[in-house]
């Protein structure tokens, strides 16, 4: 790719316009990749690009070999050192972007520019491997414009156009290509399994995790990326019921809660009603599949844990859609076995003495009324001067003691954690559950949008006869957290209340993201097979798809050829009328010769068709008059001539 030897062949120099467009292409590629490239690499490549542009503006010429070669080696070495290897999506695209920009150093001829523009298209595609969102895809597609314009600029003898106008024809070309590309997109057979190993991306994503200690959620609660979208088959549950359980955490070590996979059968569930829904989960590098309240069964390629949390068999790297049924009114694990009771009563010794003392005091005071103890705890949160804040004071070793008796401020994690510890200390089996709560109901798309900021933590306590019961202590402090959602709480905290409308707009706009995510990103091999289900074909195999693709391409080829062959009718009505007359006469065997003027032709026609001599003579006279007597023929005479031509019916001469 990087040429080491100067070619001897003389080739025309690249003109400045083409080079500028190529530089713009490289700059766009660099910007699109800047999201995942390390900052110093982006800055270095941008500097190389800028210097090269500046150098060529002053004096065209290739960069010398003693500059190019070390730069290439430097690029390869830094990529290997930074990423650890040179294969895989990220190091590969970093290397490709670097090579593209270094290629510009030696771009002096149209041939170099062609290679550069073609390679830029490839690197643009590589940008989509990192982010395949709708906006990213559109921006990348627009990034093709300078590349196409650079290819156009390589053509000789173009009509002059301004720099910006150079970009427009590419847009037209891409717009014309959309129908065919959609056909190809739908019908290109997808692979069931990858041809070569696709190493997972190593980037860390914020999201729920299988461990929780108070304060962990801060990043999450300010992250407004979509976490999942849920559409319900019937009416959606009320906002207060929109609890999506992800992890159930029973083990507490004094600082953090962790969930442990016990490998036991799912806890028995008695339910009266159920809700069916579909979840489209954004990739989160986790195995957990959040489910509304308590799911009845696990979707394919996933399993129910002992506490009825849903675990996928592998971590979620790409958007995933799954269907589930959940119970909203239920009795979960009406009989508590000893092992579970022990696990859910466990507390680390030597932590939180004041909390323990308070719980013991409640137990002595209320006796066996677990219900009352729960209510007492909730009213403590409600009336004890507790504050909901995303920036609470730090907690010490006895975190729960500090929270309950000193700082009095925190968010869902603090409340859930403190409440669960209180319950356990009082001898009520309890556990922490994390997941999402609330979400934005998009009326336009009829689905619930749940963002990462809707992450929530609450408690479940086991009450005799009722099984596990969800208790949300945060609701005691901040009822609107549950009824209105996380954004309502966050908004009251945030300084920028004026940006609420922006949030609202983004929530509504999300319907487009969902459409993109379902229609484009989620269009996998499975969906493709079901493509023809409305037509009675339940499994569209590769052969059928190929045949369809071929038929579709032929149809588009016909359409395209029709367009290509279509010529605008001549705008001169007089000439058009004359051509009509010529066609009519040609049908009876009087062809106009290329060397023949209108007068000669029509005279000859009059001789050939003696019965219509007068008519043809009049036509000839009026044509000559219209054509040669006026600079602009008078419209009424012109209309008369056109009408006369339309009315003219040449008759065969019977010989």
């Amino acid at each position: 790719m990087i040429r080491l030897r100067r070619t001897q062949r003389k080739e025309a120099l690249l003109d400045n316009r083409a080079f500028d467009l190529l530089c713009l292409t490289a700059a766009v590629v660099l910007c699109l990749h800047a999201v995942h490239l390390p900052l110093w690499l982006t800055a270095g490549l941008a500097a190389v690009l800028g210097l090269r542009w500046w150098q060529r503006q002053r004096k065209p010429g290739r960069a010398p070999i003693y500059l190019k070669l070390p730069l290439v080696v430097l690029l390869a070495v830094t990529v290997i050192f930074y990423y650890g290897n040179i294969f895989g999506r990220e190091p590969g695209s970093a290397l490709a972007v670097g090579l593209l920009i270094l290629k510009l150093l030696e771009t002096e001829t149209p041939r170099d520019a062609k290679v550069g523009a073609a390679f830029a298209c490839f690197t643009l595609m590589a940008a989509l491997l990192a982010d395949q969102g709708m906006v990213a895809t559109f921006v990348v597609a627009l990034g093709l414009l300078p590349a196409l314009a650079a290819l156009r600029a390589l053509q000789p003898a173009r009509l002059a156009a301004s720099f910006l106008r150079e970009l427009l024809p590419g847009l037209g070309l891409l717009a014309a290509a959309i129908p065919l590309s959609l056909l190809a997109f739908v019908l290109v057979p997808r692979l069931d399994s990858p041809l070569w190993g696709a190493p997972p991306a190593q980037q860390a994503r914020t999201g729920l995790s299988d461990r929780m200690s108070p304060g962990d959620f801060v990043d999450l609660l300010t992250d407004d990326r979509p976490a999942m979208r849920i559409s319900f088959e019937q009416a959606a549950p009320s906002p207060a019921q929109r609890y999506f359980r992800a992890y159930v955490m029973s083990h507490y070590d004094g600082r953090r809660w962790t969930s442990a996979q016990t490998g036991r059968q799912p806890a028995p569930l008695e339910s009266t009603d159920s809700v069916a829904y579909r979840v489209t989960l954004e990739p989160n590098d986790q195995r957990v599949l959040p489910a509304l309240d308590v799911p009845l069964e696990a979707p394919p390629a996933a399993a129910l844990g002992a506490d009825r949390e849903v675990m996928s068999s592998k971590s979620i790297q790409d958007p995933l859609t799954y269907a589930l049924r959940s119970a909203l009114h239920y009795r979960l694990q009406a009989e508590l076995d000893d092992a579970t009771r022990r696990r859910t009563l466990q507390l680390p010794t030597g932590f939180n003495p004041r909390t323990q003392a308070l719980a013991t005091q409640w137990r002595e005071h209320y006796g066996n009324h677990d219900d009352t103890i729960v209510q007492t705890a909730l009213s403590l949160f409600h009336n004890g001067g507790f504050n909901y804040t995303l920036a609470p004071a730090p907690l010490g070793r006895d975190a729960v003691d500090d929270f309950l008796f000193a700082t009095h401020e925190g968010f869902c994690e603090h409340y859930a954690s403190a409440f669960t510890v209180l319950m356990r200390a009082a001898g009520i089996p309890a556990r922490v559950v994390t997941g999402y709560q609330g979400g934005y109901w998009n009326k336009l798309g009829n689905y619930l949008l749940v963002r990462q900021s809707d992450a929530h933590a609450w408690s479940e306590v086991w009450l005799a006869g009722r099984g596990w019961v969800r208790i949300d202590p945060t609701a005691a402090v901040r009822p609107e957290r549950v009824s209105l959602g996380a954004s309502a709480v966050a908004a009251s905290q945030a300084a920028w209340q004026g940006l609420n409308w922006l949030q609202e707009f983004r929530n509504r706009w999300d319907v487009v993201n969902r459409w993109w995510s379902q229609g484009v990103i989620g269009f996998d091999a499975l969906r493709q097979r079901g493509l023809l289900t409305p037509f009675g074909v339940h499994d569209t195999d590769t052969t059928t798809l190929s045949v369809l693709l071929a038929i579709g391409s032929v149809l588009f080829a016909i359409l395209g050829l029709t367009w290509a062959l279509w010529q605008r009718r001549d705008t001169d009505p007089l000439r058009a009328a004359m051509q009509t007359l010529e066609r009519k006469l040609a049908r009876v065997g009087v062809m106009r010769r290329s060397s023949e003027g209108p007068q000669h032709f029509l005279l000859r026609a009059a001789r050939a068709l003696p019965t219509q001599r007068v008519e043809l003579d009049r036509l000839m006279k009026s044509y000559l008059d219209l054509r040669y007597a006026h600079a602009v023929p008078p419209p009424e005479s012109l209309r008369g001539f056109c009408q006369a031509v339309r009315d003219f019916r040449p008759r065969h001469v019977v010989k």
């Binding site: 073609a118 595609m125 196409l148 290509a177 065919l180 996998d524 395209g560």
Partner: protein, 322 residues
């Protein structure tokens, strides 16, 4: 290295033209105007087009392998745009008309300038190239535009020379596809004979009594020795007194350029081409001096005249000689 390749290409081309009548169909000379249409425009991918195709396949494989639908969509978009550019390449030639070819005059051995008159029709034409006689020239025209494109072709000998086959082609807009059409206009150009480089001047018609008339001017030009027959009133008496002999005032004679009567028959002993070359030189000299000339050729008698039109007529007559 390149020579055998070029040779092989040429042989391949010859073979193709022999074997594929569709390609050679329009090699027959055809009368002007020539309008390019779908049955005579051919289109193939260029080298860049092939390379781009390979690149698209690589992109497709990558997108399918990573199950990345956005990348697949982009690849499809780019591929469809490339396919559309093929139609654009076709459209840039379709409907283009070569209305006339206007040859200039040239002397054998010098390049002859042709004016190709082109009519754009209803479309904008950009980056159209003409190949003629081993050279390429590019042009662009706005819609409804007309263009006179000067092109040079080499000439070797005098006489009628058929125009070479010319090729209109374009790789507009992206350079991925090349559309072309061969044109073989049924037109010959007349190449003038090359004048000889040196030789005797034409024999002046001194014996012609018409040309012995003296033309006396008004201004005194010089003094010269007396010759018998000089009129007495022209003797410069004062000057003669200081000399041994009589001096006569000589007035300038603004003789009109003497007409050259160039005649084929006055050049015996030369072969035809040498005669033609000599006559061509004389015609050139007469034209340069602004001297009237007439020309007699077997089968053609051009009475005297002067100026470029006369010169062109005479040279064309010479060029047409068998």
């Amino acid at each position: 290295m390149t020579m055998p390749l070029a040779e092989a290409t040429r042989r391949m081309q010859n073979w193709a033209e022999r074997r594929l009548p569709a390609l050679t169909r329009y090699r027959r000379p055809e009368s002007l105007p020539i309008e390019l249409h779908r049955r005579r425009i051919y289109i193939v991918p260029t080298g860049l087009g092939m390379a781009f195709g390979v690149l698209l396949i690589v992109m497709l494989a990558g997108a399918l392998n990573y199950a990345n639908n956005a990348a697949l969509l982009l690849t499809c978009l780019l591929g469809a745009a490339c396919a559309t550019s093929m139609l654009v390449a076709f459209r840039s030639l379709d409907g283009l008309r070569l209305t006339a070819i206007q040859p200039n005059h040239a002397i054998a051995g010098q390049p002859l300038i042709l004016q190709l008159h082109l009519d754009a029709g209803t479309r904008v034409r950009q980056a159209i190239r003409v190949d003629i006689d081993g050279q390429t020239q590019a042009f662009a025209m706005p819609a409804h535009g007309q263009l006179a494109l000067p092109l040079a072709i080499a000439t070797t000998r005098r006489g009628w020379q058929p125009l070479p086959r010319l090729r209109l082609w374009s790789s507009w807009p992206l350079g991925l596809f090349q559309a072309w059409s061969w044109l073989y206009p049924e037109q010959s150009v007349l190449v003038w004979p090359r004048p000889e480089t040196g030789g005797p001047p034409p024999r002046l018609p001194a014996d012609d009594p018409m040309h012995q008339r003296l033309h006396h001017g008004e201004d005194l030009a010089a003094l010269r020795d007396y010759r018998a027959g000089d009129p007495q009133r022209r003797i410069a008496w004062k000057a003669s007194a200081r000399h041994d002999s009589l001096l006569v005032k000589d007035f300038e004679q603004p003789l009109p350029r003497q007409e050259w009567r160039l005649d084929w028959r006055h050049l015996p002993g030369l072969d035809n081409e040498a005669r033609i070359a000599r006559l061509a030189r004389w015609l050139g000299e007469a034209e340069a001096q602004g001297r009237p000339s007439s020309l007699w050729l077997p089968g053609d008698d051009i009475s005297h005249g002067a100026g470029p039109a006369h010169y062109a007529r005479c040279m064309s007559a010479l060029a047409r000689l068998p």
